[in-house]
């Protein structure tokens, strides 16, 4: 009926339908991905990013919070020192080593992305599982609410939510970004539940006398993991980009000591593009590469799970 909303639901429903494949099909999907160069590139970028985020504090050559060269920064005269011995990427507006901040920023960026995605998955899962497992009026009410959220453009929704908080901080950003993905995960999990309702393994468990909540939690939910992982990977990419957009609009964390790529990009793009555009370029390139990595990995997983591609 609602054409635009249906179009938004289409890829989610398609993905949800792949639930319940079981272990052998998951293994087959992984085998298929191992042969795809796109999947490998995505996986390598993602793995490198995660490793970087974990070991960033060890890799950073200098203390990312030390305002060592603050006396050399003269914002009024448009001077932020660039590359020099010991500071390969120069310093930021507080005289802190930019390379170290960029490396440590990987950690914060991953944190924002992962926490936002986890919140989205958890809340979406509760809504979706309740709707899919109970059906009836619970389903109708919950899905009506989800559809309203889904019909609002994602960036506008994130901006609206973030703008409603009186004072922005790291958590308002994470909450705003995660609310965008809640309706997607809710619909995905509801679809995954419905796809399995008449599946053989559910029928078998039910006829053995397994309680309903056990069937849902132990048999149906684990089998929905594939589609959830795919969507979560794609959500990580959009979360990081959306967090950057919020920072750019002044809705990011105002704490100047925090090193996060979106914050660094948002601030530099607004204030220092005329003085030293590199302060925006480096985090921007980092965000683009990482978002690309997650997208490539997610899209190739989606393709590998698609029954159309099964032999």
């Amino acid at each position: 009926m609602n054409t635009l909303l249906n179009k938004k639901k289409e890829p989610i429903d398609k993905l949800a339908a792949t639930a319940g494949g079981g272990r052998s099909l998951a293994a087959e999907a992984i085998r298929r991905m191992a042969r795809s160069p796109v999947a490998i590139i995505g996986a390598v970028i993602t793995a490198l990013f995660v490793l970087l985020a974990i070991f960033a504090p060890l890799l950073a050559p200098k203390d990312p919070f030390d305002r060592a060269l603050q006396d050399q920064v003269q914002l009024g005269r448009g001077i932020i020192p660039g590359s020099m011995p010991g500071y390969p990427l120069g310093v930021d507006d507080f005289g802190r080593d930019f390379l170290s901040r960029l490396l440590v920023g990987a950690q914060q960026t991953l944190l924002v992305g992962v926490v936002a995605t986890l919140i989205g998955v958890s809340v979406g899962m509760i809504i979706g599982v309740l709707a899919g497992a109970f059906g009836g009026w619970v389903d109708t009410v919950l899905m009506r609410f989800v559809d309203v959220l889904l019909s609002v453009p994602s960036l506008l929704l994130a901006i609206s939510v973030a703008a409603l908080f009186a004072k922005p901080n790291q958590w308002t950003v994470i909450i705003a970004v995660s609310i965008v993905s809640v309706p997607i995960f809710a619909r995905l999990l509801r679809g995954a539940m419905l796809a399995q309702r008449d599946a053989d393994h559910v029928l078998a468990a039910t006829s053995l006398g397994v309680k309903r909540h056990t069937v849902v939690l132990r048999h149906m939910l684990p089998n929905s993991l594939g589609p959830v992982i795919v969507q979560a990977t794609l959500t990580l990419a959009t979360s990081i980009i959306e967090a950057a957009a919020l920072s750019f609009l002044g809705l990011g964390d105002p704490d100047p000591s925090r090193a996060e790529w979106g914050l660094m990009l948002g601030k530099a793009a607004r204030q220092f593009l005329d003085i030293r555009p590199e302060l925006a370029y480096y985090p921007a390139i980092a965000i683009i590469i990482v978002a690309l990595g997650f997208t490539l990995l997610g899209e190739s997983m989606r393709e590998a799970l698609d029954p159309k591609n099964r032999r």
Partner: protein, 333 residues
Amino acid sequence: MLRFIVRRLLQAIPTLLILSILVFAWLRALPGGPAGAMLGDKATPEKIANLNHILGLDQPIYLQYIKFLGRVLTGDFGNSLVSTQPVVQEVLDFLPATIELSFAALFIAVGLGIPLGYLAARFRGGIIDNLTIVVTLVGVAVPVFFLGYLLQNNLAEPLGLPSQGRLTTGLDATDITGFAILDGILTQEWDAVWDAIRHLILPAITLATIPLAVITRITRASVLDVMNEDFIRTAQSKGLAEQTIRGRHVLRNALLPVATTIGLQTGLLLGGAVLTERVFTFRGLGFLLAEGIERKDYPRRQALILLGALVYVLVNMLVDVSYGLIDPRVRVR
């Protein structure tokens, strides 16, 4: 057809009601309530209580909601703190700019995206195809505002294009409708038309990137799907000219899903406009919202968020009605 339109209109009412309740509830859930948010750092319990009384926030909650709804329905969103003008007036003044920009962006995205997607599908696995895939993937990964600044800083000067605003300041252009290009045509001030178009180029390219990537990808997938259909093989085996098959059979069938996607892009455009208009100081609704956020203009924020949702619901409805016209099957469903 009329019945379909009326039914569609009625269906939008519950959605709008839920939205209004959400916005209303959210405002009440703020720490210190709306009064605390408006007073900000200067908030003391006495000041909050005083403002609460002035704003009528000490009344029962259902009464407050009804009053809130009443004000919204009569178009009373209060005055902007930045300009002290009624917010509704601001919105009406700034709306044409956003419509103009969105149309320009959609024009670029559709005009480039459909041919590109078609070519990529036709020469599948070729250079164009691979290039298209890479560009569409990267296009989605680049933060919109960053791309805007890149164009502004690196392209504006070499190409001699303006990088700020809608019209050159000091240019004598008559304002009739608020649409700069339309006004220029109506008054036959061709220099103003040209000036407005030049101001649109860079913001429109910026805003168009993501819709362009999506439209290209959907067109490619859709053309590939149709080319595998039986009726294409039939057309080929009965000896139809390649030209006819491509134009009449492939393209026409492939464009239906693309049309829906184009409608879906209006949502993306609304979100992207906030970033793009802020970068290019293009004075539209997005700029209004960005400024409202920066200057902590609460009435303006609330009004724009609610109006943004309203506009989107209306666009949704318009798209549905137009599909009802194109595809009669939609009407009965």
